[in-house]
Symmetry: C2
Subunit: 255 residues, 2 copies
Amino acid sequence: MTVMRRPAGRSGRAGRKALRIPAVIARDIGLLIVSGRYQPGDVLHGEIETSDRLQVSRAAYREAVRILAAKGLVKALRKVGTRVTPREEWHLLDPDVLGWIFEFEPDDETLASLFELRRMVEPEAAAMAAARRSDEDLRVMAKALQGMAQHGLQSKAGRLADQAFHAALLRATRNAFVASLTASVGAAVSWTTFYKGTHSRQLRDSLPDHQRVHEAIVRRDPKAARMAMIELVDLALRDTTDARKRIGRKKRATA
Amino acid sequence: MTVMRRPAGRSGRAGRKALRIPAVIARDIGLLIVSGRYQPGDVLHGEIETSDRLQVSRAAYREAVRILAAKGLVKALRKVGTRVTPREEWHLLDPDVLGWIFEFEPDDETLASLFELRRMVEPEAAAMAAARRSDEDLRVMAKALQGMAQHGLQSKAGRLADQAFHAALLRATRNAFVASLTASVGAAVSWTTFYKGTHSRQLRDSLPDHQRVHEAIVRRDPKAARMAMIELVDLALRDTTDARKRIGRKKRATA
DNA sequence: AGAAATTTCTTGTCAGACATAAAGAGCGGG
DNA sequence: CCCGCTCTTTATGTCTGACAAGAAATTTCT
């Protein structure tokens, strides 16, 4: 494992800002953990050894470990070392942790679980949004829909617009806790559309689903918003699992 | 602000384990942030100045700041300082953050929002648990109910049993993301019963509500479990708001 | 006045040392 | 032989002081 000051990709481009060393190390180790390369119970190598190997100061490495500990991924014990925490203690809804999980192709169970959560939260959120939304919320959602229509779901911009729509909807609930699920929902949304876009030829247009939700919210019709959102999530899940099954068959056939 | 190596309370007792300096500082500053003493946009005092004032090394203080940054509460910028993040970026569902919020009496809106989240998640979770629970899940839930009955809701042990019941239920959903909401639900549960216990004379017995949920899960009856949980959450919310209103009147009368 | 160079300030990183707790080995006594 | 105590070992925990780097503020030059 080597320390990269910038996320993998072209380095010169102005894209993302340079990450500090501890953040990069935390991400690297975090990826190793959520991907299962480091299993719960495993103890990380010693601080001196690791920091030396990565050619960073021990202080920098320690700050990285602190970040991971703050997210529940590891726990440091004197004399025993820094040990990977059992999965139940991970802060799965932490944006970073979730992002790390979705940097790989998540397994079926993880994906299903996240969709179950969406299915629990988003319909009610849509209903709440229909009851409480401001005109400003509407404006943001409309703009997001326009972005989806304009760029399409294959493009990065389109995916961002999709996420923006769901984020605006959650914000419109006027519930800070619900709104803080934005990262979770966004991860599912982004990855799903990405998955469909890259692996599947025929890409069902989910824009109408979104528009139905939007219209219900415009009309301040909670019941309709809830139903429309249920349909949206269900269809998104179906599309995703269908695509997966196709890939699965293809892979099996190739192997 | 002074660094306390142990959480406030009697120090000699074996209760909680000694927290390391960065964790204590992170908690102290975290409390100042979530309580509003430090407002979003405020910049914390410089590292040298603060670490000097707290009489800890700069490295220790920096690790504390890293913890807060990992939870989205602050963001460090060169030359500008470490600044408190806008509220929308806080990781509200992080167990520590939520715990800090609930170390004070949360405002009505926060409490209402958290109950809304419970109301969205727990009924469906109960239904899922009814469909998927193992015998082991049942055993844990039964034991928790027994603990509630034995110790009562006023005692610490009773409150822990209450939390344990909800935790076991969420775990029985077999959904890691739902299960990771345990801390959030637990915070609401614990604080609510605590509130009722300390401030209110007549303390409605919520044990029957829990037992109805439990029985439905035993019977593998998702619909009944969902309905029972809806009732449980609604009653808990009503109890809490009622108690608050009483206190409010009392305070107003006293003042 | 406007752009470019410079200063300045704050976080970022490094290096090495010592402190401390907890696991494990070793030893003594029951 | 087993139990419990002490001592050693070892990893994290903490401190100190120094320098690097980047961004804001200031100054200087055109």
